[in-house]
């Protein structure tokens, strides 16, 4: 596949230009000594710190965080779809679960996370629990709402063909809900990175969140930023991955 550079430049050129300007301005301000480097390290210092700690970060901390994110996302995906579909099929289940779901999102994550540490200890499961609590909500809501939008007229047409509820779900409602579900997944996967990081801040012995917290204790702001850079990169890559899957799946659902 040939990349169309002209189009790429048109899409991302301005963003790239702005990034270069911001980074240069940032570098200049710090070098001039206007802001002390332990408060805001210069981009070059962050880069150097990243290179310096790369071995440690890539071999130990990044895989640990990634594992939490992936397991957390996997469980959120399965659970979210199940709950979303369940709420679609059962009005009672919807009435019971929906308020709880909303309440679960109003709980300040930082406040409840220590409880997870109490329950699950310093194992990976305390981080995964925080991750799921944050990441499952967008999946449930996007699944449930997506299934609701499935056109009434199409449903009636299939009913006249003698279709069962399950057939209508499979043939009409699920394909129609797919765009919404995939938007939910894109949001959710980014939240997973946030959740895992919060989990690690509260109690962990490995992971990018743990690393950035330790470095922050040592006033090594450049290393903190290096970890943040990797976390954000991880979020972006996961987001793009889901976007790619979305494009493949929706090729024919949203044409044009």
């Amino acid at each position: 596949m040939k990349i169309n550079w002209k189009k790429w430049l048109g899409d991302y050129g301005l963003f790239l230009l702005a990034s270069i300007l911001i980074l240069s301005g940032w570098e200049w301000i710090v070098r001039k000594g206007m802001i002390p480097s332990f408060i805001l390290p210069s981009p070059s210092a962050i880069w150097l710190s990243l290179i310096e700690n790369l071995q440690l970060l890539l071999a130990e901390h990044l895989p640990a965080t990634l594992k939490e994110v992936l397991i957390g996302f996997g469980i959120s995906l399965a659970g979210g779809l199940l709950v979303g579909v369940g709420m679609h099929f059962s009005r009672a289940l919807e009435k019971v679960l929906y308020p709880f779901l909303v309440i679960s999102q109003t709980i300040p994550m930082i406040a409840i996370s220590p409880i997870f540490i109490m329950w699950f200890g310093y194992t990976i499961w305390s981080k995964i629990a925080v991750t799921i609590l944050i990441a499952i909500f967008p999946i449930v809501v996007s699944t449930y709402d997506g299934l609701k939008t499935g056109g009434k007229e199409y449903k009636e047409l299939l009913l006249t063909m003698g279709a069962t509820r399950w057939t209508i779900f499979k043939k009409i409602q699920l394909p129609m809900a797919l765009p919404s579900i995939l938007s939910g997944l894109k949001m959710s996967v980014v939240y997973c990175v946030v959740g895992a990081t919060i989990g690690e801040w509260l109690g962990a012995s490995v992971g990018l969140g743990y690393f950035s917290r330790r470095m922050s204790g040592n006033l090594q702001a450049d290393a903190v930023f290096a970890a943040i850079f990797l976390l954000s990169l991880m979020g972006i890559v996961l987001f793009l991955l889901i976007s790619f899957i979305e494009k493949q799946l929706l090729k024919n659902i949203i044409r044009n």
């Binding site: 056109g151 007229e153 199409y154 009636e156 047409l157 299939l158 009913l159 006249t160 063909m161 003698g162 279709a163 057939t167 043939k171 009409i172 394909p175 024919n252 659902i253 949203i254 044409r255 044009n256």
Partner: protein, 244 residues
């Protein structure tokens, strides 16, 4: 084939949109229902298909009025309702998938139908690549693929421009002989109703009047310029005037 006796239906708490309607369709007939907007034509179809249940009266399909009517007749709604993520062939296969028939076995037969409907070349195309007339033909073929003998067509050509509509008329008239189906057809286009039908029901609030169209078949679209046609049309217009 299809018998409707003294049918009354009202939406909740409202006055009935029709009362004591009786319609009888025999096997192999093409019968149209015309009436002004809001006279309950589409509601009548929803009652026949079983999406709604009558307040009073009976609907008999093949002499049978017991059990659910869902899945007993082929229904083609006003909008084509093609699934955008399915190709023409896959859209046509939908009724077979729903009724869990082995659709693969029928593919050669369906290809034959696609050719007859002038859709063979676009078999793999998606609905958004088709013209309005083609989309309606796909929707019509999908209705035929339900395998039911009675087809209910709800203004299938209503959304088409008049030129396309004419072409669809001649196409349908040409096809009618070999189709061997029974059709109940909703329209508000008088010309269309006379050209296509054996009989026409005029749907009013309290009665349904019946008009016979005794023009010989096979018919051609040029028929609309002949005096017998014009006479029927005048009669029909007079009846509609009286209704109001």
């Amino acid at each position: 084939m299809l018998t409707i006796e003294n049918l009354t239906y009202a939406f909740e708490d409202n006055r009935p949109i029709f009362q004591n309607i009786s319609i009888d369709v025999k096997a192999g007939e093409f019968v149209s229902v015309i009436g002004a907007s809001g006279s309950g034509k589409s509601t009548l179809f929803k009652l026949i298909t079983g999406l709604l249940d009558p307040d009073q009266g009976e609907i008999k399909i093949n002499g049978n009025n017991s059990g659910s009517r869902l899945g007993k007749v082929g229904y083609m709604p006003q909008k084509d309702l093609l699934l955008s993520w399915r190709s023409v062939l896959e859209n046509v296969l939908l009724p077979l998938e729903v009724s869990k028939k082995k659709s693969q076995l029928k593919i050669p037969e369906i290809r034959e139908w696609l050719t007859r409907f002038g859709l063979a070349e676009v078999e793999k195309a998606y609905p958004d690549e088709l013209s309005g007339g083609m989309r309606q033909r796909v929707a019509f073929l999908r209705t035929i693929m339900t395998g039911k003998d009675i087809l209910l067509l709800d203004e299938p050509f209503g959304a088409l421009d008049s030129l396309t509509k004419r072409n669809m008329h001649s196409w349908l008239l040409g096809l009618w002989g070999e189709l061997q189906k029974t059709v109940l057809f909703i329209t508000h286009d008088l010309e269309e109703a006379i050209l296509l039908s054996d009989r026409i029901y005029l749907l009013g609030q309290e009665t349904s009047r019946e008009i016979k169209v005794s023009l010989p078949r096979p018919r051609k679209k040029e028929l609309i310029y002949q005096s017998e046609f014009v006479t029927i049309r005048k009669e029909l217009e007079r009846l509609i005037q009286n209704e109001n």
